[in-house]
């Protein structure tokens, strides 16, 4: 990126979102309420380990909420963006538009 990436404030891009895999994950989660791990995996095309790592970072940052359950004795994990995550993503989109003069989506 030609402009500096900071903490998401003062016209800088949030570095937590401004990473290709996490940007893809957040873009997908932004489209609906709860999404299952498997669905996010196939939609983003990431590997299982890669997705788990990025999800853990997003959950730790409070951008994503995680729910776990067992269906037919098999684990099923679902995710959704928290209000904070949605606001951060909106801010990211706004900043991106300001920096490039183009639309992100």
């Amino acid at each position: 990126m030609s402009r500096s990436a900071g903490n998401g404030h003062n016209g800088t891009l949030d570095p937590l979102i401004h990473e290709s895999s996490r940007l893809m994950i957040i873009s997908v989660l932004n489209e609906g309420p709860w999404m299952e791990f498997g669905f996010v995996l196939t939609t983003t095309g990431l590997t299982k380990g890669n997705l788990s790592t990025h999800m853990a970072r997003l959950v730790a940052a409070g951008y994503v909420e995680e729910w776990k359950e067992f269906v037919d004795r098999k684990p099923r994990t679902s995710y959704r963006l928290t209000r904070r995550g949605r606001e951060a993503f909106r801010h990211y989109q706004k900043t991106w538009r300001q920096l490039t003069g183009g639309k992100m989506r």
């Binding site: 498997g38 269906v71 098999k74 490039t100 989506r105």
Partner: protein
Amino acid sequence: MSDVSDHPLDIPRGTLAAINNARNAAWRARRYVEASRADAVVGIALDFVGLGALHADIPWWLNGPALLLALTGVFLTYRFLWRYLRGGRPCAVRDADKDCHQAQPGRLVIRFLISMAFVISGSVAFNVSRPLLGDDWYYGIMVWNLRLCVTGGIVFFIYRFMRVTFWEYLAFAVAIAGTCGLYVAAPSLLRTLSAGDKKFILSASLVLAASAAVSLIKRRRRLDSLEATEDIPRSSNLQELS
């Protein structure tokens, strides 16, 4: 090849590619989420078209199909609502002892009941106040309310079509315009049509709505293969989403 793109701001190619990948992934997710609501959307559309046709000056041989569409619409809408309320929400990580299979409709049921109570009380209040309103106002409000609903339905489907480009949504908008639209919202236009034209428009709208409904339900079933019952996807075939 340079890492910097031709973009005026010298944005690295990787960043542009990441933005593009994110956009594509979001587009696929949006279409999937939209298709997962097919039952409810088809139900609403069939209700509009079926009930609109039944209230019109319909030929006797179209009564059966129109009634069937309307009833199918009611069935699909309530089935979606039933499943949605029964589904509850997944258990939290921190609530490991909770029975995850137990439905936890909670606030959803309360919201649904409040909405129903609001609709029913509004309807009762409207009918009770008829002597106060007078016939002109009473029927005026009723007619304009119907026109507003029909226009809202058409706008809703055109908006959804623009969001996800499912042709079925455009078909629903056209079918609603051809039934409710002509017979409720634009009766003046109706008077300019011949009896043959009216029958053609009505029957074509019913066929169009039924075809779109079948197609949208099939679309949802194809996408169902993407849903995972565990943390491993069953299929990596995303062609349907593109």
